[in-house]
Symmetry: C2
Subunit: 74 residues, 2 copies
Amino acid sequence: MGHRGLGVDPRCRCIETESRRIGKQSVELFPPSSHCKDTDIVATLKISGKEICLDPTAPWVKKVIEKIIANKAP
Amino acid sequence: MGHRGLGVDPRCRCIETESRRIGKQSVELFPPSSHCKDTDIVATLKISGKEICLDPTAPWVKKVIEKIIANKAP
């Protein structure tokens, strides 16, 4: 939800975040930068390819990312 | 290094990983799947836009990701 185009928009990528939990998806992390003070986390849903923004402060989001790094199915 | 095209290649995205440390970059995490048993981590370098693969087992890679999630400059 609220995912803006990548790269060219001089603002944050995410304007709102998805509160429903997602499972094992690819996740892209964008660190804070000069045009966005927040970390943006964008997940790509496996079947639809749809991109959704996740809340970097939500504990379940951190757990999903930690599980991906640990090479486990979330 | 060794970054393959996204999505359509039925293998792992990363065939080798970069050992030099990178700083504050956007990072994409791909969990293990039916066509790749490993987690792939692809960083996009800020200036060149070049994509490089990172070693998901390297402690510094985990730290960079943790710092991005924590909304801190790595």
